[in-house]
């Protein structure tokens, strides 16, 4: 029995070693997504975008080797994220890691900086993600860009001057509050009240009463997930008829289908799903064919994150340089602008993408674009 167990263990190890060798010729990048636990759904969504990009890169033979993505389960937790990051960096030796979730992103940023490995976020929008060092990039415009994009539109085009902000009590909400406090007076508006709600709160009648008392022209909601839908519904139920405004977290089916949200305005990065731009069209067509539904901004972001790697690595390979985190960073600084889904994208010096933004209106059918704002 002991002999059988030993033989089995040795065979398993040998198979593992063989498997590792068999894949040695591939060019690997890492993905640190939650694949178990309560946030596993996000990992699945992010993965669809990343995988599609890898398929396209391999089909086009952009790189000399086959590009594969090594997934590690972060469970959206810092400790698991650090374990996964360590494996990707030290064992798989990837030069580039797709990251998601603020806690995980912050926890792995130290390892990324120390080992000169690029980590790229396509999900979190808290502005503090821009300050995690040169090896931490954001392929999603952060929340401060979203506020800057919509405020002039609301004041000039919609003639809305008095704003109330209802924000979730976390780094995202705090950053949107700071951005509104700074941006509104300069643009000719006024923040008459800023009301915070705890992240777990689901009852907003009291907040609605305070919003009504402030008599605003518009209500900016800075929350996410099911809480956001509850705020919208309860505000309308409590008789608040003012214009509702929000940011990219509004681009989810739950909000779009909500009758109370009709007419609400929100920003996203500028992605025209009907665009004839070849990169966007191919992405939308192939995604629809594969999953039988329209992609979302998150899917596009992780597609773009992998596509960005493909473009940078291609340039490095042409120059005969090894594909390392250090060289990828240097190449990104040199190239500046990239053809991604949604059009051309440029990176700011802090590694955060600057792309055109758009203002959308909730229409129950996925949202219609009412204004495009160039950064």
């Amino acid at each position: 029995m002991i002999f059988a167990k030993k033989t089995l263990s040795i065979s398993l190890l040998a198979f593992a070693a063989w498997g590792a060798c068999a894949q040695a010729a591939d060019l690997k990048i890492g993905a640190l997504f939650p694949m178990s636990g309560p946030n596993a759904t996000y990992g699945d969504i992010f993965g669809t975008g990343a995988n599609l990009a890898a398929e396209h890169i391999n089909a086009d033979k952009i790189l000399k080797e086959k590009l594969t993505i090594q997934y590690e389960d972060s469970q959206a937790l810092p400790q698991q994220g650090v374990i996964g990051m360590n494996k990707l960096v030290n064992v798989t030796k990837v030069p580039y890691v797709l990251s998601a979730f603020t806690g995980v992103s912050k926890a792995i940023s130290t390892t990324a900086a120390r080992t000169k490995t690029v980590a790229i976020n396509g999900g979190g929008v808290g502005p503090d993600l821009a300050d995690l060092g040169p090896y931490f990039w954001n392929i999603i415009p952060l929340a401060n860009f979203e506020v800057k994009a919509i405020i002039p539109y609301l004041i000039k085009e919609r003639k809305l001057k008095r704003f109330v902000l209802v924000y979730v009590d976390d780094p995202l909400g705090a950053s949107i509050r700071k951005e509104m406090t700074d941006t509104l007076p300069k643009a000719g508006g006024e923040l008459v009240e800023a009301l915070s709600v705890p992240a777990s709160s689901q009852q907003f009648s009291g907040i609605a009463a305070r919003v009504r008392a402030a008599k605003p022209d518009a209500i900016y909601i800075a929350s996410y997930g099911s809480q956001e839908a509850q705020i919208v519904k309860q505000f309308r139920d409590n008789g608040l008829k003012q214009q509702l405004v929000s940011y990219s977290a509004f681009s989810i089916p739950e909000i779009n289908k909500l009758p109370e949200a009709a007419g609400a305005l929100y920003t996203t990065q500028n992605v025209d799903w009907n665009s004839t731009d070849p990169v966007t069209k191919r992405f939308v067509d192939d995604y629809k064919k594969k999953y039988n539904k329209m992609p979302t901004a998150y899917v596009a972001n992780y597609y773009n994150a992998v596509r960005l790697f493909g473009l940078l690595a291609q340039q490095l390979e042409k120059q005969g340089k090894p594909v390392t985190g250090e060289n990828l960073l240097a190449q990104r600084i040199e190239t500046k602008t990239f053809d991604l889904v949604g059009g051309k994208a440029t990176f700011a010096s802090n590694g955060t993408v600057i792309s055109a933004m758009q203002v959308n209106e909730v229409d129950g059918k996925g949202g219609k674009v009412v204004s495009v704002v160039s950064q």
Partner: protein, 297 residues
């Protein structure tokens, strides 16, 4: 093999930290029969205190660890005194309340904990003026702390205090009838356990250089409890075996190349669930069963 080293060092360091937590939880759970699901809070208090102290006063281990131990010990004293008046499943409910309360405070007390955004840029631990940034040195430090915690708990358990704990576990009423001050013994045990758990917290903060509330949630408390139960409650080796197993399994799964990569999480959950059910049927005392040790001090 060389490239594996950094990964193994990382895993081993986190195992040592988690083993300290499992051992300290076992100290109250396995020996005093106090089923606490708020252990992650004391882990968190230790981590936040050490981080705050390191950022604002000194990163010296000889100062940061004792300060975090005192903070966690005192907090547990305040909370244990009223909560320990109830026993059994009522204490589980009380500790659940503490866990929920603790997480809310960690999320909301932004000046101290940084809220959900956490504390970033914690300096490396300082030992005799030397900053411990090397992974091997940190592993040695974590292993040293683990050995120290094992020695302290073992010594306590072999003393009359340990015998009192076991007496309370076996029958609180009998221990009371024999003149034992049950409330004091239970409070002391929770205090010692929490203070020792804070060592793990301090190490964790120094090691990651970043902490936020996500590391100290109910999930962590449940995981620690699973480590103790799977390994074997009321044994010295049990919590360590449980920790190694529960931290190694996810890593091993991710090495099985024949499993679909994106489904590894789900497969792991199924394997955990099945293993727990089988373990409870065939070996309810945990992998390192305490039965053979009965009668020893």
């Amino acid at each position: 093999m060389e490239k594996m080293l950094a990964y193994i060092l990382n895993l081993a360091t986190l195992m040592c930290i988690n083993a300290v937590l499992a051992i300290t939880l076992n100290f109250i759970m396995g020996y005093a029969g106090i089923f606490s699901i708020a252990h992650a809070i004391f882990f968190g208090v230790g981590a936040y205190t050490a981080a705050y102290f390191a950022l604002h006063a000194s990163a010296s281990l000889f100062l940061a660890i004792p300060v975090s131990m005192v903070a966690a010990g005192l907090l547990s004293l305040i909370l244990a005194l009223p909560a320990l008046r109830v026993r059994g499943e009522y204490f589980v409910a009380a500790s659940l309340g503490l866990q929920v309360l603790g997480v809310t405070i960690f999320s909301e007390w932004k000046s101290f904990t940084g809220g959900l955004g956490g504390v970033i840029g914690i300096p490396p631990a300082d030992l005799f003026g030397h900053a411990i940034t090397d992974p091997v040195q940190f592993l040695l430090l974590a292993a040293g702390c683990l050995v120290l915690v094992i020695l302290v708990t073992n010594t306590l358990l072999r003393s009359s205090f340990g015998r009192n704990l076991k007496a309370i576990r076996d029958s609180e009423s009998a221990a009371h009838a024999f003149g034992k001050n049950v409330a004091v013994i239970k409070t002391l045990s929770v205090m010692i356990s929490s203070a020792l758990a804070a060592i793990a917290g301090a190490l964790y903060a120094f090691y990651l250089g970043f902490i936020n509330v996500e590391s100290f949630t109910l999930d962590t408390s449940v995981l620690l409890m699973a480590m103790v139960i799977i390994g074997g409650t009321g044994t010295l080796l049990g919590p360590i075996v449980g920790t190694v197993l529960l931290m190694l399994l996810p890593s091993l799964f991710s090495y099985m190349w024949f499993l679909p990569q994106t489904e590894i999480g789900a497969i792991q959950q199924i394997a955990y669930g099945a293993a727990m059910v089988l373990l409870m049927i065939f070996r309810p005392g945990g992998l390192v069963s305490a039965r053979k040790n009965q009668g020893e001090p």
